[in-house]
Amino acid sequence: MKLLTRKVVGLTGDGAAAEAMRQIDPDVVAAYPITPQTEIVEKFAEYVAGGLVNTEFICVESEHSAISACCGSSAAGARTVTATSSQGLALMHEMLYIAAANRLPIVMINVNRALSAPLNIHNDQSDTFGSRDAGWIQLYCENVQEVYDTTIQGIRIAEHPEVQLPVMVCLDGFILSHSMERLELLSDAEVKDFIGAFRPRTNLLDFDKPITLGAAAMPEYYFEHRFAQSYALDRALERVVAVDQEFGAKFARSYGVVEAYRMDDAELAVVTLGSLAGTTKFVVDRFREEGVKAGSLKIKLFRPFPIEAVAAALKNVKAAAVLEKAISPGAPGPALFSDVLGALYHQGVKASLISYVAGLGGRDVPPKSITRIYNHLQQIAETGRIGRILNYLDLRGWQ
C-alpha cells in the first residue's frame, strides 16, 4: 500500500497555475484577462482580495500595459508574474523582446489559443510559436500536474544568476486550462523553500545608485549585446535541466527537457509537445501491443531548443513525424518541424522526417488520427520513400 504523503486535489490547468502563483506569492502581478486564461487572473485576484498573498496586483487596460508594467516592476527589483493568451500575447509582442534583452526574470503563464482571424478562442500553439524569437525560455506542459510544477520551476530558472531571462510556461487552452485533473500539491513551505528569496540584479528605485536600463545601443554595440543575450538563452538549457533535477530529487517529479517515451528500440516516432504528447503516448502503447516498435518524443523545452537531446532520441528511428498545432505560412515547414530538422542536421543525423500540422483552432486530435500518422510512418519505413513531406491531419479536401 502506497501512503499518500502529499495533498491531492482536483484542479483545472488555470486553477493549478493560480495555486502555484499563490504559493510563489510574487511581489507584483500585472495582467489582463483573456479567454481561456481569465480563470488564472480571476482566481489570483481572489487571493489578493482575500489577503492570502502580499502581491501588488496591477489591473491594467491592455496586455501591452500588463507586460510593460511587468518590465518596470522586474527592473525595479520585484519578483514579477503575469499570464496571457493568444491576442494578448500578440499585443505584448514588442515588449517581449525588451523583457528578454533587458534580462528581466519575469514568469508568464500563457494559455495556448489560436490567433485571429477568423476569431477563435480554442487551442493551438500559433500564439507562442509566433513569439519564439523573442528571447524567452519556453516550456510546454502535457498535463495539469506539469503546469503546476513548471510554474514553480519557472521562477527558479528565470532568476538563476546565470540565466536572468523571462520564462513562458505554456499550456493548451481548454484541453488543460479548463480540464480538471488530479494533482499533488507541495506545501506552501516547500514552494517557498524551493524558489528561495528573490535577489534582483537591478533596482531602478535605488536613488543612491542610479542606473539606466533600456539605453540606446548604436551599431557599434547592438550586435554584441544581441549575441550576449542569445548566448545566455542557449546556456540556460543547462540550468533548466539542473532545476528540474533538483525538483525531482526533492519532490519525486521531474520532466527533462525532452521525454523519450518507449524510444529505446523505436523504429517509428512522433515528435510533439503539450497535451498532444499524452494522446500520442496512448497511441504508442496500442502499437506496442501489436508488436510495432513505436515511440514518441515530447519536447518540453522549446526555447532554447534541446538540439542534442532531440537528435540523440531520433538517431536510430526509421521514420519520424513532427506533429504540431501551428502553421508557418510560406515557410519550408512549420516551426517545430523546422527545428527538429535543424537539430538533426546539427548533429549529423539522417532520418526520414515528415511534418503533420493538426488541430488548428481547437480541432480535436483523437487517437485514431494519430494512429494514421504511425501507419504513414510504417509505409515510409517499409518502402524507404518519404513522399510528401508536409502533411495536414484531418483537413477536409486535403489528400
Partner: protein, 109 residues
Amino acid sequence: MKDDSIRKLDKAKLPAWDEIPLGWALLSEGSDDFKTGGWRSQHPVLDPEKCTSCLFCWIYCPDSAIRVKDGKMAGFDESLCKGCGICSTECPQGAIKMAEGAGALKEGE
C-alpha cells in the same frame, strides 16, 4: 560571461560580446553620452524673469538637456537638446518658448 556588472561604458575600448554589461544596464544617470543636439530644428528660449526654478523642465526633459546649478534652472545643454519642445509645453510659468532653427541656446536669448 566575463562581465555582468553594472558599470559606465568605457568608450575608449569597444567591448567584445562577453564584456557587454548584462542586459545593457549602465551606471549612468541618463543618456548623456549620446549626443542628440545635432537633431535640433527648433530650440528653447528661456525667459529668466518668468522662471521660478520649479524644475518641471528638468523632470520632463527626456535627454538630460536642462542644466541645473545650485538647485536653479541654469539653461540648456547644447550637445543634448534635440528641440522636442516638451520643456516648453510643461513649463507652468510659460517661461520657455520654442524658436525656429538650431539656435545657440544661450541663457536668456
